[in-house]
Each structure stands twice: as C-alpha cells, then as structure tokens.
Amino acid sequence: AQSVTQPDIHITVSEGASLELRCNYSYGATPYLFWYVQSPGQGLQLLLKYFSGDTLVQGIKGFEAEFKRSQSSFNLRKPSVHWSDAAEYFCAVGDYGNKLVFGAGTILRVKS
C-alpha cells in the first residue's frame, strides 16, 4: 500500500534562512509526487509536482523539490524563507487518475 512519511511535525526557521521539509514515500511503481501548502482556514494549494523527467522540479513561491528514487524521498526546499511561508505543508503520492495519499503534514513556523 502507498504511504507517505513526513518525519517532522513542526519546524521553526528564521526569516531569510533556508528550509528543507522531508518526505519519504512507499510505492510500488514510479509515483506521482506532490507538495501542497495549507494556510489556516484555507484549502490546499499545489506548490509543485513530479511525474517524470528532471528530478529537480520548480514550483511556485520559490519552492523546489528533488526526487531521489534510491532514497524514496521527495524533499521540499526553499533557499530563503519569508514570514508569509508560515503554514502547513503536505507531501502526497498518487498514481495516474487516482486518489492521493497524504503525509501527516509539517507545520512551518517562521521567526523574525
């Protein structure tokens, strides 16, 4: 069965510092991988996705993620965090046309 692990429940970074959010997945084939962000009281906004090809994908708001098949990982990164990035981040795995399986989420706090 598919599963996603986000090992960090909370992360706090200083504004302007770099960020890496970890995501590990379990899937029997080549997965479709996603990162979504959720601000309080809001729905999920798609940050970026990986289907195939270049393993480093660029997303919105300056985020990027790297797919590493050997490590079953799809970590999200941002070189310089802004206070507006404070939110909850979800990694998800799915296959073509099918349901998404989400990780438990990582809450990002940004301190000034």
């Binding site: 996603f34 809001q42 729905g43 798609l46 996705k49 289907f51 073509y96 349901k99 989400f102 989420g105």
Partner: protein, 111 residues
Amino acid sequence: GAGVSQSPSNKVTEKGKDVELRCDPISGHTALYWYRQSLGQGLEFLIYFQGNSAPDKSGLPSDRFSAERTGGSVSTLTIQRTQQEDSAVYLCASGTEETQYFGPGTRLLVL
C-alpha cells in the same frame, strides 16, 4: 479563472441529523474527489468520480456516507445520521487525471 468552490463553508448540526455538502468543480475537469481532514486521521480519501465511470467509493468510512455527481459537474456529499466523529473539514478537489486542485473546504461540527 474560478477555482473549486464548496458550500457551505461552515456547518453546525446536531447528532443524528443528515447533512449535504456541495462542491462546484473547475469547469472542464472530468475528475472530482472528496477528502476528509480531521485532527486524528489527517487527510483521507473518501470518493472519486471520473467522467461517466462508476465512482471509486473505497474511502467512504461507513454506509452513512454517500456522494453523487450530477451531469458530470456539481457533486454532493451526504452524511446521514451524523455522529460526533464526523466532525472534520471536508475537502473537494477537481482536476485532470494528473493533478488535483482543492476547494476551501466545508468545516462540519456535529454537536
């Protein structure tokens, strides 16, 4: 263009009552999904509609939950005889078969 919309945004109901939650997908999207987000369970898949195919109901937690999609567009999620454990945010997503776009959700509170 317009995104996925859901109504109501908030719903408070009494235990045992039925509720209906509505989802208006992005025009042209053939796929529509319902998920539930709760503190204890995280984000869980409920049901998936794709075109005229039979829906994938594998995530519905009990037979009190049902959903329909009329005319390949609007969808309604119905919860009968609500229980306190049904309290959650119900998220709808529409999309292509590759990517899902989420609505703002309906926050359901069962007293």
